[in-house]
């Protein structure tokens, strides 16, 4: 296998505000990138850099995952606190200890999570990239595997879905599929159909368990609500 001299690269986009944080400020760069990826994802992804500074999208992904974890934690805390009154006394007495243990768990999570996110970006990126190649989605790409890792990192914006109570995980997953499709299509200059196929195939093959699990949970919740509201 010979390494070809790379073709002349197309002009590099200006970059998202987070990629230009040295000039616009880190906080403004982060919030503005977040806002743009939520409100106008197609235009924002068109501005994302295609090479160089891989640290920026990976750091953005880590921050978004941490926000998602904290949001999920806060919802659990709020819902747990509101349920304290209905707990039996012996369980209520142990609630403080349970809270302390879960706080320690959260601290450990915050330390381990950035490493897990980095590994996940590269592992999941490799899987998605393999399927994108299988479907011919990298033929016109000038970014390769790096483009896929970048696309997945920017798509972590969907972790904001965790802010939705109860169904946050499901919202984040569906939104993630949409954003990943748009990002892969933009960074690899391929059709959205190929990008969607590359995103969905590993989900269907490897994560069908989770889909069934979520469907089962939703069915239980909906069934429980229906049973509660009907009858009497």
């Amino acid at each position: 296998m010979n390494v070809e001299a790379p073709p002349p690269p197309p002009p590099q986009p200006a970059g998202l505000p987070w990629e230009r944080r040295a000039e616009v400020g880190a906080v403004h760069g982060f919030t503005e990138t977040l806002r743009r990826l939520v409100v106008e994802p197609a235009a924002a992804l068109g501005e994302a850099r295609r090479r160089g500074d891989l640290f920026s999208p990976l750091a953005y992904a880590v921050l978004l995952v941490l926000i998602g974890v904290l949001a999920e934690r806060i919802w659990s805390l709020l819902i747990g606190t509101s349920l304290l009154d209905v707990l039996p006394p012996h369980l209520r007495d142990n609630a403080g200890l349970a809270f302390a243990l879960s706080t320690v768990g959260l601290a450990v999570t915050l330390v381990v999570m950035p490493i897990l996110v980095l590994v996940a970006m590269f592992v999941y990126g490799a899987i998605v990239h393999l399927f994108l190649m299988l479907y011919g989605g990298t033929r016109d790409s000038d970014t390769g595997y790096e483009g896929t890792v970048r696309a997945l990192a920017w798509s972590m914006t969907s972790q904001l879905g965790q802010l939705v109570p109860f169904a946050g995980g499901l919202v984040a997953m569906v939104w993630g599929v949409v954003l990943q499709t748009m990002a892969l299509s933009s960074l690899h200059r391929t059709t959205q159909g190929r990008a969607l196929a590359a995103v969905l195939t590993p989900l269907v093959l490897c994560c069908v368990c989770f889909a069934v699990f979520f469907a089962g949970i939703m069915a239980l919740v909906v069934g429980g609500l229906a049973a509660g509201s009907g009858g009497r």
Binding site: V3, R51, L116, G144
Partner: protein, 129 residues
């Protein structure tokens, strides 16, 4: 087959991810028991293509490569390929000889990949079904 060179940051990041992934295997392997059982298999009796990956991870955490391979051969082979390729990419970059990545999948890989997935799932069906 034409290739494009891997960027320096990608090669080093990939190598770091491979090392971190390998370092996390013991930590993750001890937590596999907390994962729920495969709901697809529980509901239908059929394993999903990822079935056995958690137990393979637990076996890897104990250094039992053969046992891990028996739980899900494709998952273990894919993880090993990912880690070795990452380490090779980083080593090549540090040695001043960056590796290349293929622009498209060669024809043999287009045939082999779906076949490997199907064969692995048939094996899992025989072993776990």
């Amino acid at each position: 087959m034409t290739t494009r060179p891997l960027s320096r940051q990608l090669a080093l990041g990939w190598g770091a991810a491979a090392l971190a992934g390998a370092a996390l295997v013991p930590w993750l392997g001890r937590r596999v028991d907390r994962l729920p059982a495969c709901p697809l298999q529980a509901a239908t009796g059929w394993p999903c293509p990822a079935c056995g990956s958690g137990r393979a991870l637990a076996a890897l955490a104990h250094g039992e490569l053969g046992v891990a391979f028996a739980w899900n051969p494709l998952a273990v082979a894919a993880f090993a390929a990912f880690a070795l390729a990452g380490l090779a990419a980083a080593a090549g970059e540090l040695a001043g000889r960056p590796l290349g990545e293929p622009r498209t999948l060669p024809a043999w890989a287009r045939v082999t990949l779906p076949l490997a997935l199907a064969a692995d799932w048939l094996y899992l069906t025989w072993k776990l079904g």
